[in-house]
């Protein structure tokens, strides 16, 4: 299902000019490179689909004082890549705050006995004090590892997630890790994800990937009976159960998911990854590095896929199946056919309620493009999209998803987002917790697209039904029509539709 529409290029160009005019000259010059309007590209993609050009600069430093939405390398490593590995203890190494604010906030679902054999929704910190800054924290770290071994002996390993001070005071967490790993015969992974490194979460992903390469792969003997259809799912963090709603489909088409990175993962799943036949990567931005490494070192091919919305699920299942040949392809067709009635029912139910609604997105490193088609499957249109921490290759890929005239914003500032949203007045904004309440104050429906706004899963066919329901309940709630006091001037009502 591909919707045919075009966005208002002239208006979007004008909006960019307007916001830039408010910046001091130097900042305006720098921000200008991050804002654009998608244009038609000469080149035509597969199956004759047009590709847009989303030409913005990305992955460069945020400007001081502008209220960037971005986070840091620690957030990328502890918060995204490592944190969900459930049978390891992840120590937030440094002062108390980083671990506290990221505690249980990414909704990486898992099954296990928390505090006994699983540790995801716990906050382990070295709670640095002034003396640790002055004298160094390595001795303390040794003691912390001893205490973890005593109180949480069923852990399968540890990671040391560096906060800013670690790199600044010259601690040698690698030496401590080596020593203690030997002593306890366990995997201990030092991660140099200090928050000041790089320009966003993105470098933290990369550093975390490198830590898997350097401190996990090839360290332990992995005994495992392999099969012809073994795959790893890479870059699915099981937010609200996403990875489960995906796994069920991959198993149904006859594949064996031998590892899921890193939602609901165990260390064993990470260790055995090099034995798989194919890496399926969902969040390309956060885990492409390790896939490239496995390709080079172990000869494992990797493939991007997209499990948001039926159009992409279908295309992805076919693409994945093709890799494994006719037997799997046939099963994939059966699975697609099996779920078609569910898809039809969901679309029939929600299309009339959502058709033509305009959506603006501003998310992390994958969803600003990956969810586009899921909205279009429901008849909705994307008027603007952008990433907090994407790189150039993400914007190239975005061209395959967005239509001409779409407003593109990289590392948007709060000021820009507020102005864009205020002027475009979309029917829905999908972004993060920091953006949620300002947008709702304006009377515009909003869904958090990092945490699924405490809902989910949104992946897979089961997730698509929830996604459709959530977008409907956000847009068609009656509260949006109550904003104006009746004795004041009345705005045009948005007309809510009662829940079905």
């Amino acid at each position: 299902m591909s919707l045919d529409y075009e966005n208002d290029s002239a208006l979007h160009e004008e909006l960019i000019t307007q916001v830039l005019s408010q910046y001091p000259h130097k900042a305006a010059k720098r921000r200008q490179k991050h804002l654009s309007v998608a244009t038609d590209r000469e080149e035509v993609g597969e199956e004759g689909l047009t590709i847009s050009e989303c030409d913005v600069k990305s992955n460069i430093k945020s400007i001081p004082g502008v209220m960037t939405i971005r986070g840091c390398a620690y957030a990328g490593s502890k918060g995204v890549v490592w944190g969900p590995v459930k049978d390891m203890v992840h120590v937030s190494h440094g002062p108390v705050g980083c671990g506290q604010y990221s505690w249980s906030q990414r909704r990486n679902y898992y099954v296990g006995t928390t505090g006994v054999d699983t540790f995801v929704t716990m906050q382990f910190t070295s709670d640095f004090q002034e003396k640790d800054i002055v004298f160094g924290g390595d001795k303390k770290l040794e003691k912390i590892i001893d205490e973890i071994e005593e109180l949480f002996p069923l852990n399968k390993g540890l990671t040391i997630q560096s906060e800013c001070p670690i790199g600044l005071i010259g601690d040698d967490i690698e030496a401590v890790s080596r020593k203690k790993a030997k002593e306890y015969e366990k995997t201990i992974v030092p991660v140099r994800c200090e928050g000041f490194r790089g320009v966003s979460q993105s470098l933290g992903h990369h550093i975390a990937n490198d830590a898997i390469r350097d401190w996990v792969f090839g360290k332990a003997e992995v005994e495992f009976e392999t099969g012809a259809y073994d795959v790893n799912v890479v870059g699915d963090y099981n937010i609200g159960g996403d990875a489960w709603a995906s796994r069920i489909l991959l198993e149904e088409i006859g594949l064996r998911v031998v590892g899921n990175w890193s939602g609901d993962a165990t260390l064993a799943e990470v260790e055995r990854a090099p034995k798989a036949k194919l890496n399926l990567i969902h969040c390309y931005r956060s885990m492409n590095y390790i896939c490239r490494h496995m390709e080079e070192k172990y000869g494992i091919p990797w493939m991007e896929y997209n499990f948001f919305g039926p159009s992409q699920i279908e295309a992805s299942l076919r693409k994945i199946a093709k890799h494994f040949g006719p037997a799997i392809e046939e099963r994939a067709e059966r699975v697609i056919a099996k779920y078609q009635p569910l898809v039809d029912d969901v679309v029939d139910k929600y299309w009339p309620r959502l058709q033509g609604k305009r959506v603006m997105l501003y998310v992390g490193g994958l969803r600003p493009r990956h969810v586009v088609t899921a909205y279009e499957d429901l008849g909705m249109q994307i008027v603007g999209t952008g990433y907090e921490f994407a790189h150039n290759d993400d914007y190239q890929r975005t061209g395959h998803y967005v239509k001409k005239g779409t407003l593109i914003y990289d590392d948007a500032t709060s000021y820009e987002l507020d102005k864009f949203i205020e002027r475009i007045r979309p029917d829905l904004v999908g972004s993060g917790i920091k953006e949620k309440y300002p947008v709702q104050k304006m009377g515009i429906p909003f869904r958090q697209m990092h945490s699924w706004d405490y809902s989910g899963p949104y992946h897979g066919y089961d997730g698509f039904a929830i996604f459709a329901r959530d977008m409907d309940l956000a847009i068609n709630n009656p509260v949006w029509d109550l904003y104006d006091a009746p004795w004041k001037k009345v705005r045009a009502p948005a007309a809510a539709v009662a829940a079905e």
């Binding site: 004082g65 099954v111 505090g115 910190t125 205490e147 490194r197 104050k441 989910g456």
Partner: protein
């Protein structure tokens, strides 16, 4: 196939469907390499023992599930309580994303703050350039009346000099020379969010008061609330009481409007807060009262330096704590406590008397910020309840001494233990080995409720998983009524739940209680 368009299953029921249960069981068996169920059960049981508790409490380095945050969070909260003030946190940018998210998740409100976005080069050369550019950008984009600068631990470790940097930035024209840029050094590796609050408020007062002539205005009072996730309800309630008393007062730091803006189509980046001109005038007040002693130790010291009288409280909640606060206000202002307030007090006492049989002898574990724990323990004892565990991760030895004194003042405090510096993993052991009827804390306590079965009453920041509690006051007699009702509801709900089984326990399922 479990999902249908007609009845869309959310994550909780969806993954309990047979297809998913089987899938997850097979995943565990074939791919996770788990410990055996027996080993997990045994270790789980072991964590409930006294032996484990002793090891757990003997920890010297590891902190697990602490109930405290870092200084700059307190500074950002503090700055949000002043008129059109933008927080500017000097250091790494990820920190600011965290503070904003943390505050938004609790208040369900926008939370604005900017970062100077220092990266590796700034770590080497210092963040002066970031300060100069950053202040200029913030000033141009967000039209603040004041920019309050605090620091992340990165800037503190490399030793950036805020005072010098701000002077430099002004010289370079980032903001006008006369523009207000107060600052506070708020290293995350010292103290906690309550100290960051203290540092920022003191920084703002010093900025406006330093070198100014004080003309004492007799009978006028400044009130500093402290870091309070219930500021929305509390500050408004206290103002109501002070207005009833006809007192001349100024709230120094008041985020009650900032974190409770209406939805009417307009996003207000700034709303309410102490007006700058009132901050200036507050130098002349006769006295400054702190509602939370451990949030304002340095600020009150400064107030005394400028020769104001000071007094501090521990989160005036409950009967006697509210009495003391009002009597102090009355004493300084020379205004009598009106009859209407005495009647309000009487209504709280009336409610406590009505419900005393359900509260007498109930055992509690209380954790949170030092002043909050003090306040709740005191009120619990007024209801005939018994605090058993009083824990503050950011509690000091001075707090411990004060707590012990309080607990010794009542027969209901005789079994209480005070746990300064301990975390919620320690609390888990305490609850297993010396169980209580109720746990009072914040949302993090839900893991303790799950593990130990102790019902949780959420009364402190942060509350992420319940909505709107902070909109209603805890302080004053009205607040006491609300705390009382919340605790009673928890007790009655539990009683009902435990007597619901038809034909087995429902003889006790009483209609009237």
């Amino acid at each position: 196939m479990p999902q249908s368009a007609e009845k869309i299953l959310d994550h909780a029921p969806l993954f309990r469907e047979p297809e998913y249960r089987q899938m997850l069981a097979e995943k565990k068996l074939n791919f996770e390499c788990p410990h055996s169920d027996q080993i997990v059960t045994d270790q789980g049981e072991y964590t409930k023992t006294w032996e484990y508790r002793e090891k757990n409490l003997a920890r010297e380095a590891l902190v697990v599930n602490p109930a405290k945050a870092c200084q700059p969070l307190g500074a950002v909260f503090a700055a949000a309580g002043f008129e059109r003030t933008m927080s500017f946190v000097h250091g790494s940018q990820g920190c600011v994303a965290y503070y904003r998210s943390h505050l938004s998740r609790h208040f369900k409100e926008p939370s604005s703050a900017v970062s100077s976005s220092m990266t590796e080069d700034a770590a080497v050369f210092g963040g002066l350039k970031n300060m100069v550019d950053g202040l200029a950008n913030t000033y141009a984009l967000y039209d603040p009346k004041m920019i309050a600068v605090s620091t992340t631990c990165m800037a503190e470790v490399i030793g950036d000099d805020l005072h010098g940097f701000i002077e430099n930035a002004k010289d370079e024209g980032s903001v006008p020379l006369e523009f207000d840029v107060p600052f506070a050094h708020t290293p995350a590796f010292v103290g906690s969010h309550v100290d960051g609050y203290d540092a920022m408020v003191k920084g703002i007062l010093e900025h406006f008061w330093k070198g100014k002539e004080r003309t004492k205005a007799a009978g006028t009072i400044n009130i500093i609330p402290g870091f309070d996730g219930f500021c929305v309800g509390n500050n408004r309630e206290l103002k109501r009481l002070l207005n009833l008393m006809d007192v001349s007062y100024t709230f120094i730091q008041d985020a009650s409007d900032q974190f409770d803006t209406p939805s009417d189509g307009e996003f207000r980046m700034y709303d309410g807060g102490t007006r700058i001109k009132d901050v200036r005038a507050a130098l002349n007040a006769e006295a400054t009262l702190s509602l939370q002693h451990y949030n304002t130790r340095k600020t009150l010291e400064y107030c005394r330096e400028v020769e104001q009288a000071t007094a501090s409280f521990h989160y005036p909640l409950g009967v006697e704590a509210t009495d003391e606060f009002l009597m102090k206000v009355s004493e300084i202002s020379g205004k009598e406590i009106p009859e209407t307030i005495r009647l309000e007090r009487g209504r709280l006492i009336d409610a406590m008397a009505d419900s005393q049989s359900w509260l007498h002898g109930k055992k509690y574990a209380i954790y949170g910020d030092p002043d909050f724990v003090y306040a709740v323990a005191r009120f619990i004892m007024e209801t005939g309840g018994e605090p058993i565990h009083c824990l503050a991760t950011n509690g000091t030895s001075a707090w411990e001494a004060e707590m012990k004194e309080l607990l010794a003042s009542s027969p209901f405090g005789k079994d209480a233990q005070v746990w300064p510096g301990k975390d919620l993993w320690a609390m888990r052991s305490l609850l297993f080995t010396e169980p209580v009827d109720l746990l009072i804390g914040n949302s993090y306590g839900k893991y303790l409720e799950r593990d130990t079965g102790t019902p949780l009453v959420r009364l402190m920041f942060p509350i992420f998983d319940r909505h709107h509690h902070h909109r209603f006051p805890l302080m004053g007699y009205q607040g006491g009524l609300r705390v009382l009702t919340t605790i009673l509801d928890k007790i009655f709900d539990k009683l009902d739940r435990e007597s619901m089984q038809i034909g087995v326990t429902d003889y006790s399922y009483d209609l009237t209680r």
